[in-house]
């Protein structure tokens, strides 16, 4: 039995039920249902404008929403991203959201903002990030805004990990990155989920995401239209069937 199989049988860490969101009169997310358990990496796929980012933002409570997001059995408040983050649901937003005028070190420290003055805990978190992204350790004093796109994405993920997340949400981490860097980032995410951290990965590059995911949700026009088992998708044609179904 693989880790993913085992995880599939466990209780979901994060469960989204009937989540809806609108921008004015436009219903951008329609009754979304998904879940992720310990050690799972689930992918959210779909074309541009399908509602993938809206789903992530609604889970975090960044936009007005209806429905329910349950984290470890408890319902998260609807419009309170601070509480969501404090309880362990952490988002790496689309566009990275790093603080360009600050150094790498300052960005990472902000990730562990809630740790306060506990230096031991802070060091433990730094060590974890540097193990995954050794390049960040070399550039601690560099301004974040002066780094390459790939390094900035590593920093964004590193900063999220400094929060010691219980669930990690990533909104298109490979956007605008070179294929080699994309591979590197996605491989790291795969390693992260193997440590037991549940990951929800929003990605347009479906084939690459499916290689890592134990399950994928396909979004179209704000609705989850299919739940895909990556083992059943052996070719681009089979994947296309889901997209065009």
């Amino acid at each position: 039995m693989t880790m993913a199989d085992g995880a599939r049988q466990s209780v979901p860490v994060l469960q989204v039920q009937g989540l809806c969101a609108r921008y004015g009169h436009v219903e951008a997310l329609k009754s979304a249902e998904l879940s992720v358990s310990d050690g799972e990496l689930v992918a959210v796929l779909g074309p541009n404008g399908a509602g993938k980012s809206t789903l992530m933002r609604a889970i975090m409570g960044l936009i007005p929403n209806e429905g329910e997001v349950r984290f470890m059995g408890k319902t998260l408040p609807r419009r309170d991203p601070e509480t969501a983050a404090a309880t362990g649901v952490v988002l790496v937003p689309e566009g990275r959201g790093i603080f360009g005028p600050m150094t790498v070190m300052e960005n990472l420290e902000l990730g562990a903002y809630r740790v306060g003055r506990d230096r031991t805990e802070m060091q433990r978190r730094f060590d974890r990030v540097f193990t995954l992204f050794p390049r960040l350790k070399e550039r601690l004093k560099q301004l974040a805004g002066s780094m390459s796109g790939g390094e900035q994405q590593m920093l964004a993920i590193g900063r999220a990990l400094m929060s010691d997340p219980k669930v990690l949400l990533l909104d298109e981490p490979a956007l605008g990155l070179a294929p080699r860097v994309t591979g590197e980032i996605l491989e790291t995410l795969g390693r992260l989920s193997l440590t037991g951290l549940p990951v929800i990965l929003v990605e347009q590059k479906a084939p690459q995401a499916l290689k890592l995911a134990c399950r994928a949700y396909l979004l179209s026009l704000g609705r989850i239209v299919a739940t895909i088992d990556p083992r059943e998708v052996q070719s681009h044609d089979e994947l296309a069937k889901y997209y065009f179904a």
Binding site: P81, E82, A85, A86, V90, L91, M102, E106, Y113, R114
Partner: protein, 321 residues
């Protein structure tokens, strides 16, 4: 690979030090030689306190407020009324003014700070205009345009700052304390929260930083310094009227903060000194004085878009590229 910094004419740290030295030299010059410039520098130091407060909200937290003059008015008028009508001593009167400004800032800030960008700016502009109108219309208390005179000088215990030198020394100490406080804030956990909000409110909230709480805190700190500057003004001048806290104060403060350097510690001080001194330097040009002042401001902002103190950061960033 990160580029090695090239050796330049002046490093960022040396430039920062020069800014402090120039500011100190200007104050020292007027302290030694006195004269008319003493009053100009005294007003500049009072503005330095006001602009430092604005700098917490605008520079460190990247929010815009056009209404800080309202809190200066509260501090100034409360100080003036309590010391003249009720014969309080200066320090308790200033503290009550400070408390009043904080209460009003909390009541206004709590709902207003939900707004962002231009909406917040417009809401705060309204606060400043309302405070001005109250100062004009509430004549039984503020004496309207006639103003309140006979306000006692700054002082504590048996000490009273009456002479130009005493006033300059007192104000310089207050400015240094304020600058030290802001430096500590910048490098503290609180300062990091402000910086995160300045970077992106949304990103800050996804890191568990309570954006509304820290925005309110930044607003309160800013209002507190505005209130102190208002009180300092009335005790140094000995008179207060609504015009002191009008829109002109806000425009002048904005000019000072951008000339000095938004988000820097020394920026509000050098900005206040330079903007206060430039009209004096150009005073011999008579009719062309305002034109020369305007051109000087434009030249500074073209060559130092991050302000005089921010030039150091710009130099460092350019060398790092």
């Amino acid at each position: 690979m990160r580029a090695k910094p090239r050796s330049g004419l002046l490093s960022g740290h040396a430039w920062s030090l020069s800014i402090w030295l120039v500011s100190g030299a200007i104050v020292a010059y007027t302290f030694i030689f006195g004269g008319y410039l003493s009053s100009v520098i005294a007003f500049a130091l009072i503005y330095a306190v006001f602009v430092s407060g604005l700098n917490i909200f605008m520079g460190l937290t990247a929010q815009v407020s056009f209404g800080q003059s309202a809190f200066a008015a509260i501090g100034g008028y409360v100080s003036a009324i309590l010391t003249t009508t009720y014969e309080w001593s200066v320090l308790p009167a200033m503290l009550v003014g400070l408390l009043g400004a904080l209460v009003v800032a909390f009541v206004i800030g709590f709902p207003t700070l939900r707004l962002k960008g231009h909406y917040l700016s417009m809401a705060t502009l309204a606060i400043g205009l309302i405070a001005y109108e109250i100062a004009v219309e509430w004549q039984s208390v503020t004496q309207g345009y006639t103003g309140i005179s006979g306000i006692p000088p700054l002082g504590i215990g048996g000490f009273e700052a009456v002479s130009d030198r005493q006033i300059l020394a007192t104000l310089s100490i207050i400015v240094l304390i304020v600058a030290f406080g802001i430096m500590r804030i910048r490098h503290s956990r609180l300062g990091r929260a402000f910086a995160a909000i300045a970077g992106s409110e949304e990103a800050a909230s996804t890191l568990g930083i309570n954006v509304r709480y820290y925005k309110l805190l930044s607003f309160l700190l800013s209002a507190a310094l505005a209130s102190i500057s208002g009180s300092l003004f009335v005790h140094v001048v000995g008179y207060v009227s609504p015009e002191v806290f009008g829109l002109h104060m806000v425009i002048l403060a904005f000019t000072m903060i951008y000339i000095g350097g938004l988000g820097t510690v020394s920026g509000p001080i050098i900005g206040a000194l330079v903007v206060s001194l430039l009209p004096e330097i150009f005073s011999r040009l008579h009719d062309s004085q305002d034109l020369a002042f305007g051109i000087a401001l434009i030249v500074i902002l073209v060559y130092a878009p991050k302000g005089l103190a921010g030039l150091a950061q710009a130099l460092d960033a350019r060398r790092a590229r």
